[in-house]
C-alpha cells in the first residue's frame, strides 16, 4: 500500500484498503476557522440538536484567521460566534483573536492595518498555526474546512479539506465516509540551487500534470531529495496539492519530521504520541515521475490558474503593479528570510506587501538579526509594507478594506500565495502571478517579473 492507503486503512481499522474503496475513517483532528466555522456549527446544531456536544473536545481545533482585521461587522460577528461555541463546548483549542473570553471582537480601523490588534492566544493562518501549536502528528487523519488543509501532509499525515456539512457530521460523530484516492508518485532527487525554492518544486509539478491532474488523487513525495527540504519547504509543497486538484499531499516521515513534531507538541503540551506510516515495498502508483531538484529554475504560474507554468526568466515582458508575500504557503519565517535576502540593501519599485502567516512569525522576523538590523527592518527599509496583523489578508481578497487587497481592475500582482484564479486577490479583473518569495522580491525590485538569480549570485 502507498502511504495514503496505509494511513487510511489504519484509520478505518482495516488490514488493507485499495484505491476506490469507500471507507469510514476516524478523524484525529477537525479544524475549522471563521469563514466556515459558523456554518459548520450551524449544521452541527441543526442536525444533532441545540444542546449537542462535539464528539471529542480535545480534537476540535478552531482557528479564526481569514476575515479578522476588517471593519466588516458580519466578519467580526463570525469570530464572536466561534468564541460562544468554544465556551459552550469547553473547547481547549480555540485560538481567539482577543483575550477576554466574554468579550466581543471589533477591529479598530482608526489604528490602521499595520500595528498588531490581537491578544496573546491568537494563532494566525490555520494551516501554519496547526503545526506551530502542536496539532500535526505523523500517521493521523486531519479534516479541515479549508482546501489547503492538505498542507499538514508535510508531517506524514492524511489531511484534506471538506465542506461545512461534512464537517458538521465529523463534529458530531468523529467519522467520515471517504473514497481512498489513487496515489501519484513524485520521487525527489538532488538539491535545490541558490535562488530556487520549494515553491518552484510544486509549481513545476502542477505545470507537469495540469491544475486538475491530481483530481481525486493523492500526491506522494518521497525519495533521497526530501531530506534536504525543511519542514517549511515540505509544507509549501503539500499545501499546493489542491492546486492540482489533489485530495491530499503526503511526505515520508524522517528525523526532521520527528524533531519538529516532538518539539512542538512538547512546547504546547499537546498530545505527543504518534505512529508514522512507512512505505511498503509493494506500492502501486497511477503515475510516477522523478523531480530533479538541481534542474529546477525559478518558476511562475501565470494568470489565470496555477497550471500556467512558465520560467521566471521568460517573463521579463510582464510589467507588474504590486508584489505580495504572505499566506499559509508563502508567509513563513523562511519565506521572509529568502525575501529579505534578495531585498537587503535595495528598494522595491512597486507597491509591496508583507503579511506573516502567524504572530510567532512576526516575532521571529522582529527578533532575528542580520548584521545590525532585524529581518523586519531590512524589509521595511527596502520599502515593503509589513503588517503585524498576521492572517490570510489579501490571499483570498476578502472584505474590501483588507490589507493588500486589489480593489481596482487591471492590476497585476506577483505573489507568494498559492492560488490565482480570476479575482482571487480582489477585483475580478485583476491578475495574480504565483511565484516563490525570492522571485517576488526580484520582481518587486525590477517592477517586472524577474529571475531572482540575477540578484542572488552577485
Amino acid at each position: 500500500m502507498t502511504l495514503t492507503e496505509k494511513l487510511l486503512a489504519r484509520a478505518a481499522g482495516k488490514a488493507r484498503v485499495s484505491a476506490g474503496d469507500n471507507i469510514w475513517v476516524s478523524a484525529d483532528v477537525l479544524m475549522t476557522h471563521d469563514v466556515c466555522g459558523p456554518g459548520t456549527i450551524g449544521v452541527f446544531k441543526r442536525e444533532f440538536g441545540a444542546d449537542a456536544k462535539v464528539w471529542d473536545r480535545e480534537r476540535v481545533v478552531i482557528i479564526p484567521d481569514h476575515y479578522i482585521f476588517t471593519a466588516d461587522s458580519k466578519s467580526n460577528r463570525n469570530v464572536d460566534a466561534l468564541r460562544e461555541f468554544a465556551r459552550e463546548q469547553g473547547l481547549p483549542y480555540f485560538y481567539d483573536v482577543i483575550d477576554d473570553p466574554n468579550g466581543q471582537w471589533k477591529f479598530d480601523a482608526s489604528k490602521g492595518l499595520l500595528k498588531k490588534q490581537y491578544g496573546s492566544n491568537y494563532a494566525g493562518v490555520c494551516h501554519t498555526a496547526l503545526p506551530q501549536k502542536g496539532h500535526t502528528r505523523p500517521g493521523e487523519v486531519l479534516f479541515g474546512t479549508d482546501s489547503h488543509t492538505c498542507m499538514a501532509g508535510a508531517f506524514n499525515q492524511f489531511a484534506t479539506g471538506i465542506g461545512n456539512t461534512d464537517a458538521g457530521f465529523v463534529m458530531g460523530t468523529g467519522r467520515l465516509l471517504i473514497k481512498v484516492p489513487e496515489t501519484m508518485h513524485f520521487r525527489i532527487e538532488g538539491q535545490l540551487q541558490p535562488g530556487v525554492m520549494a515553491k518552484d518544486i510544486i509549481l513545476h509539478c502542477i505545470g507537469e500534470i495540469g491544475f486538475d491532474g491530481a483530481t481525486y488523487r493523492a500526491m506522494q513525495f518521497d525519495g533521497p531529495g526530501v531530506a534536504s527540504l525543511s519542514m517549511d519547504d515540505r509544507m509549501t509543497v503539500a499545501n499546493m496539492a489542491i492546486e492540482a486538484g489533489g485530495k491530499n499531499g503526503i511526505f515520508e516521515f524522517d528525523a526532521r519530521t520527528r524533531e519538529y513534531v516532538e518539539s512542538r507538541t512538547r512546547l504546547n503540551g499537546t498530545k505527543s504520541t504518534f505512529e508514522p506510516v512507512l512505505a511498503d515495498a509493494d506500492q502501486k502508483f497511477v503515475y510516477e515521475t522523478v523531480i530533479h531538484l538541481d534542474k529546477l529554475e525559478p518558476t511562475v504560474a501565470c494568470h489565470p490558474d496555477p497550471g500556467q507554468r512558465k520560467k521566471a526568466r521568460e517573463l521579463g515582458h510582464i510589467k507588474l503593479d504590486r508584489a505580495y508575500v504572505g499566506s499559509c504557503t508563502g508567509g513563513k519565517t523562511s519565506d521572509f528570510v529568502e525575501f529579505a535576502r534578495v531585498l537587503r540593501g535595495r528598494r522595491v519599485t512597486i507597491d509591496t506587501f508583507g503579511v506573516p502567516a502567524t504572530p510567532e512569525i512576526v516575532h521571529d522576523l522582529q527578533t532575528t538579526r542580520w548584521g545590525d538590523k532585524t529581518v523586519w527592518q531590512i524589509l521595511e527599509d527596502a520599502g515593503v509594507r509589513m503588517t503585524e496583523n498576521a492572517g490570510c489578508a489579501a490571499c483570498l481578497g476578502g472584505p474590501v478594506d483588507t490589507f493588500g487587497r486589489m480593489n481596482q481592475p487591471g492590476l497585476k500582482c506577483i505573489s507568494a500565495t498559492n492560488r490565482n484564479f480570476p479575482g482571487r486577490m480582489g477585483h475580478k479583473e485583476s491578475q495574480v502571478f504565483l511565484a516563490s518569495p525570492a522571485t517576488v522580491a526580484a520582481s518587486a525590485l525590477a517592477g517586472k517579473i524577474t529571475d531572482p538569480r540575477e540578484y542572488v549570485s552577485n
Binding site: D146, T165, F211, R419, K428
Partner: protein, 185 residues
Amino acid sequence: MQSTFSGPVYVVGDNIDTDQIIPAQYLNLVPTIAEEYEKLGSFALCGLPDDTNPVRFVQEGRMDTEYPIVIAGRNFGCGSSREHAPIAMGAAECQCVVAESFARIFFRNCVATGELYPIECGDRLCDVFKTGDLATVDIDANTIRHHATNRTYSLKPLGEVRPVVDAGGIFEYARQTGMMPAKAA
C-alpha cells in the same frame, strides 16, 4: 422526486473556481442563517469576468436565477472547499450543473448539501450550447436535449450520488435509510 429540469441554460467555460461561483468577499455570510442563505443566492456566479460572461447569472436586484441549468467545461468548482459555492447556486434555485468534469470538493459538497445535481457529460456541451438556449435535463434517462436543434446528448448516470441529492443531503439520506435516528419533531 423531480427528475426532469427544463429552461434556459447558463454556459461557462473551463476551471470555473469557487471564487467565481461566490467571491470571497461574501463569505462573511453564514449559510445556515436563513436570510444570509438567500443573500448568497443573489451573488451566485457573480465573480465571472464580464468579458466572458456579459449576462449575469442572477439579474441585479433579483434573488433567484432564470437559469435552472448551468453548463460548464472541465474542472467546474475547483479551488476552495467553501460549501458556500454549491449553496449559493442552490439558493438561487439552480437545479443542476452539467460539466465535462468537476473538482472533487465541489462535487462532494453538492451531494452532502443536496443543493444541486452535479452531472458529468462526455461531450463538451459548453461549445454546443449558448447562454439562454432552452434545454431539458432528464436524470432518469440520463439525457440533455437541446430544444432548438432537438438534439439529445447522453449524460453519465449519477449512480449512488442521486438518492443522496434526492433526499436533500447526507443527513436526510442517513435518516431515511436508517443510518441515523430520525430527528425529534
